[in-house]
Symmetry: C2
Subunit: 189 residues, 2 copies
DNA sequence: CTTGTAAACTAACAAGTGTTAGTTTGTTTC
DNA sequence: GAAACAAACTAACACTTGTTAGTTTACAAG
C-alpha cells in the first residue's frame, strides 16, 4: 500500500468538501479547517485552489479514457462491451465517490485544462455512441435513437456516485449485474 | 400571455447564470450585468440572493409533487403511470431548462427552505418507488431491485435539462416515446 | 553540533462579496 | 400640477476571498 502524501491527502479531503457544497462554495479556509491546519499552510503542498480541482478531475477523466480504450481494443460483442463499460463506471465511481462529484458538477470551473477535459469527455461519448451504433447495425441492439440510449445509460452511470454511498454493504459485482440487466433489458416483463 | 414582472425576469436570468456556473459562483454583480443594471438595483425587486434560489427551486419542486399526485390518483396500470411520469419530466424540464439545473445542482445552498425541499424530494422518490413495487407485485414489471430501477430511471429523467438543449427541433412527444421505450423495454433486441 | 527539509505558523494584502441607505428619474393617477 | 410609485442610480459598509511573505518548529542526515 503506497503511503499517501500530504498533497494527496489535501486533494482527497478537498474532493469530499467539493462534493457537499461544490467547488466555488468551498473556501481555502474551509479546507484548512477540515485538515486541521491554517489556510496559508495549504500552500506548502499545493499551488492553488485550481490545482486541486485539476488534480481531482483530470486524473479521473483519464481513467475513463484509458478504460474505454481497453474495451474498444477487444473483440467482444457490443452487448459485452456495454457490460464492461458498466463495470468500468462502477469500479471507478466506487473507488472515488468524492472525485466523481467534482467531475460531474465542477468541471466548468477548470481554468487551464478545461478544453483538454472537454475533449476527453466528448471523445468518450463518441466512442460510447460508436459501440451503440455498431450494435444496432449488427442487430444486437434494438433500432432506437442511439443518442437517447447514450444519454440515458451514460447519465445513469455518471450519477453512480450519488447512489452508491446510500447503500450499505453494497456488492459491486451485484450492482454491475443489476445495472446491466436494467439498462440493457429494461424493466418490462 | 401573462406579462412577466421585473422580479420574474430577474429570477429567469439568474437561473440561466446559475445553470452555467452554479449558485455560489454567480455574484449579484454578474446578475446585475446580465440584466443591464447595477447590483444594488436588484434589491428593488428581490430581497436577497437566497430568495432567488428559493423562487427557482421550490416552485419547480412543487410542480413535480403536484404532477406525481395527479398520476397517483388515476387507475392506470403501473406501466402507464411510468409513461406519465416520463411525460411529466419532459414537460417540466423543457419548459424550465435553467431552473432544472438549479434544482439538481444547487439545492444544497437553500437556507430557509432546505428541509422543505428535501421532504418534497424524498416523498417524490417514495411515491415513484411505490409505483415500481406495485408493478413488480402485479407482474407488470420484471422482478429486479426496485431501488436500482428507480435510481436509473429517475437519474435519466432528472438530467433531461442537460440533454434537451443540445437537440435542435426536438419533438417533445417523440422524446417521451423514445425514452419510454428505452427506459421500459431496454435496448436489447 | 550543524545543516537541510517538511510542514506548520502569524500577519497582511488587494480584490471581491452581499447588502443597505439615501437619492434621482421618469411615468402614471387624481 | 401634485402625489405616488416603479425602478434605476451612487456610495459605502463589513466581511470574506485566494494568496503571499516571512518566520518558527520539529526532526532526520551528515
Amino acid at each position: 500500500m503506497k503511503q499517501e502524501t500530504r498533497k494527496e491527502e489535501i486533494v482527497r479531503v478537498a474532493a469530499k468538501l467539493f462534493k457537499e457544497k461544490g467547488y466555488s462554495a468551498v473556501t481555502m479556509r474551509d479546507l484548512a479547517k477540515a485538515m486541521g491546519i491554517k489556510a496559508a499552510s495549504l500552500y506548502n503542498h499545493i499551488n492553488s485552489k485550481q490545482d486541486i480541482l485539476n488534480a481531482i478531475i483530470i486524473s479521473l477523466a483519464e481513467d475513463f479514457t484509458e478504460g474505454m480504450s481497453m474495451i474498444q481494443s477487444t473483440n467482444d460483442s457490443c452487448i459485452n462491451k456495454l457490460k464492461k463499460i458498466i463495470e468500468l463506471h462502477v469500479k471507478i465511481s466506487s473507488q472515488n465517490i468524492y472525485g466523481m462529484a467534482s467531475l460531474n458538477n465542477d468541471w466548468m470551473h477548470l481554468e487551464g485544462k478545461l478544453s483538454y477535459y472537454q475533449k476527453l469527455r466528448t471523445d468518450y461519448e463518441e466512442d460510447f455512441r460508436a459501440i451503440l451504433k455498431d450494435g444496432i447495425i449488427s442487430g444486437e441492439i434494438v433500432d432506437a435513437k442511439p443518442d437517447v440510449m447514450l444519454f440515458s445509460i451514460l447519465t445513469t452511470l455518471r450519477s453512480l456516485y450519488i447512489w452508491i454511498p446510500k447503500k450499505e454493504d453494497l456488492d459491486l459485482e451485484d450492482l454491475s449485474n443489476t445495472l446491466n440487466q436494467i439498462l440493457i433489458k429494461g424493466i418490462n416483463k
